[in-house]
Symmetry: C2
Subunit: 447 residues, 2 copies
């Protein structure tokens, strides 16, 4: 039995059925919403008009899942879990009919819920979140009323992607965030490069500016975002403040939560102390391979891997999820941003002493048409020279260069070892010394 | 003292001087040609008209090197090395003046020489190589005479890049190669994808067709390439057959050569048995980290790393070159090709039993604009599942994905371990399961 029909839930259900066979396993999935297996990460591009959503964002339809043998119940909420009786209390949202259903194995895949600031006016019409497909449709309805000024609250990856979407829709865009620079998943010096690039895209950046509330007009609709430094007029407001694990159901049932608020799991994604209970995706904590801490990093790429691990194990196989590096890649107009591992502050908090190196280079051979600027920052442990993290900000060809850093980090390479990595070279793809290797080389001289 | 003023020689000279200081070290470089530190890899793009060469292809001018304290002697050939007397015999090509010069440390960086087929007519006017900047200038002079039909001999990366250059120049292009598919650095099934794509670019592909000679007209100029399957009319012929290590000088001096014909070195790029003699770049053999064999892989990226290693060591530091993976990336029009590690045949020859998996995916999320096809093939060792190689053929966003495979290969990862690699994901950059991970996943099921 699976609670939640998005990436983890549907991957686990499909993989388990594929391995064990329909005759051996009966799989029920309860999903509160109208859709399963959708790409929330695609919503900003649907809103921007790049993707003719929402259908393309649905990786596999409910009908296809049912054809594969999954008993999928949409618009059905689980209100309670009784771990001793091994039952769940379910309610059909449309009919309000309730029932109790038994399980042998339970997968908790309840995802995350958006953080809504506890501020006056935060529920006013004209203020939109961007988590579900319904949120995307609501926001597009709001845009159909031809607003002129948009304020995006939050400078993380959802915030910057939504700022781009609003620019592409022709709005005047202001981004407001309490942090001194956008993208707090980067060190401030790298975040500053993002801010400067976004200012160059005519996005007004109000960083270091806490939001204190939302002003509304006579009709109750939002008219401005109030900050400690004055009002930011807004016809439409998009909240990109982030999410927290959706664990109320798990907590009440008595499942263990970690310090970041996510459900605890072991390497096979089993909930410790509760045989036959599994959890994965945005509702769990994961192990950070560099810091050793347990962290909440809600990303579709992890959720899909968790789903596979749970499904393989449920289907009688063996698989583990060995943790994350905090790799992420995002894009604002033609600016690409990648990061993996620890920031300087995170490394310090974990107990590392560090050295760092930042280099400016080009994505292709300097003389090659389309060569664009890339800045790479590499963080390494003092004395050992072990790579601890990498951050990249630049134009086309920058973002996915984070992957080679991630693979080096995964394997515990030192920056000295990285210098000789045999990476692909040809003038349309890289300078003869790839920017990543130049950064490693410079960092190795500082170790 | 350095013989050869390209990547290895100038990097070694610069690095050694930077480390040791001008007062501690006197550095003389002999270079037979007119230029130093140039990008031979850029010549096809200069010929294509992408790069306004040759100046942009020169990474650092002779004057800049001299300003840095290097005693650089252009148009000066070394005719002999006396290892016992620790002298070299040099000749100024313009004046024909000869002299003997002593050395304490010697760097052999004589590069490679193009393979010219021992076929009738191979020296006829209208037949061009593409190794030096002078070759590039000659070919451009040939193109200025407005030839209509070009035949490119050789389907390796230089051949395919030159075929693109000729297409871009508006010529009717035929590529001829004796191998059944182009790009023999790929398995034949992946090479077939390259052939099909090139045929789609209106390049006539005559693979599996050995060249038997060159026909010439009354003026002695080439008129056709003769093959066992008939003549291929040509106004211009470009040879992209490859290169061999230029080791005649080293061999006569008594330096050890390996079975691939390159100079032997140890990990610090010292020639074994000859104190104070170093070698690097296209004239040496290198250690292949996967097969354990010594191989000749002439690439600028290795040459630059060799130069750094030699320079660090000469300057009193410590550095080693830990071998190669055979990583390469190339481009024909909008087709990108990457490979690292061993092919199936190479793995078999090295003694591995293998499993492989090939997957078709997209470079971005399937629904994202600009998502293009990518085919990834992964080769792993039977039973252990250790990654042995990867090949990628596809459109924009394909080529540099080889780097994450290279980093995984460098670290001896298994395909099972690769499945959970924390790579960057966002819809403009990758599907939620990166194609590389899908291939690893499929291969792991075959182990």
């Amino acid at each position: 039995m699976v609670i939640g029909g998005d990436a983890v839930g549907m991957s686990a259900a499909s993989q388990a059925l594929r391995r064990a066979g329909r005759d051996a396993l009966e799989v029920v999935v309860f999903e509160r919403g109208h859709h399963v297996s959708y790409s929330a990460c695609g919503i900003p591009y649907w809103v921007a008009g790049d993707v003719d959503g929402p259908d393309p964002l649905i990786a596999r339809s409910a009908a296809a899942h049912r054809d594969n043998g999954i008993d999928l119940r949409l618009r059905t909420e689980v209100d309670g879990i009784d771990l001793d009786a091994r039952t769940v209390q379910v309610r059909e949202l449309d009919s309000d009919a309730s029932s109790t259903e038994g399980f042998d194995e339970l997968v908790v895949a309840t995802g995350a819920v958006p953080v809504r600031p506890p501020l006056p006016g935060a529920d006013a019409p004209g203020i939109y979140g961007v988590q579900t497909l319904d949120d995307g449709a609501d926001l597009l309805d709001g845009l159909a009323e031809r607003p002129r000024r948009a304020v995006v609250v939050g400078g993380g990856y959802i915030g910057v992607e939504m700022a781009e979407a609003m620019v592409r829709r022709g709005l005047e865009v202001t981004l407001v965030d309490q942090a001194p620079e956008p993208m707090t998943t980067l060190d401030p010096d790298m975040g500053a490069l993002v801010r400067e690039a976004m200012e160059g895209m005519d996005i007004r950046m109000r960083t270091g500016t806490p939001v204190s509330g939302f002003e509304t007009g006579r009709d109750g609709r939002v008219t401005a975002v109030a900050t400690e430094e004055g009002e930011l007029p807004a016809d439409i407001v998009v909240l990109g403040i982030g999410v927290r694990p959706n664990t109320e159901l798990a907590r009440v049932a008595g499942l263990p939560l970690g310090e970041s608020g996510g459900v605890l799991t072991d390497l096979r994604m089993r909930v410790p102390g509760h045989d036959g209970v599994w959890a994965g995706g945005d509702c769990v904590e994961v192990f950070h391979r560099v810091s050793g801490a347990r962290v909440h990093i809600p990303l579709g790429t992890h959720a899909n891997k968790h789903g596979r691990v749970i499904g393989v194990n449920l289907g009688g196989g063996y698989a583990t999820f060995p943790g994350v590096l905090g790799t992420a890649v995002s894009k604002v107009c033609d600016l690409e941003i990648g990061r993996t591992g620890l920031l300087e502050a995170e490394a310090g908090a974990a107990g590392f002493e560090t050295v760092s190196a930042t280099v400016d280079s080009t994505t292709r051979a300097g003389y090659f048409p389309g060569a664009t600027a890339i800045t790479v920052k590499v963080l390494a442990e003092r004395r050992t020279g072990r790579l601890l993290g990498a951050q990249l900000v630049g134009r086309e060809g920058t973002g996915k260069r984070v992957d080679v850093c991630a693979a080096a980090l995964w394997n515990g390479m030192t920056v000295e070892e990285m210098i000789n990595l045999d990476l692909g070279y040809a003038p349309p793809f890289a300078p003869v010394w790839d920017p990543v290797l130049v950064a490693a080389r410079k960092a190795s001289e500082a170790v």
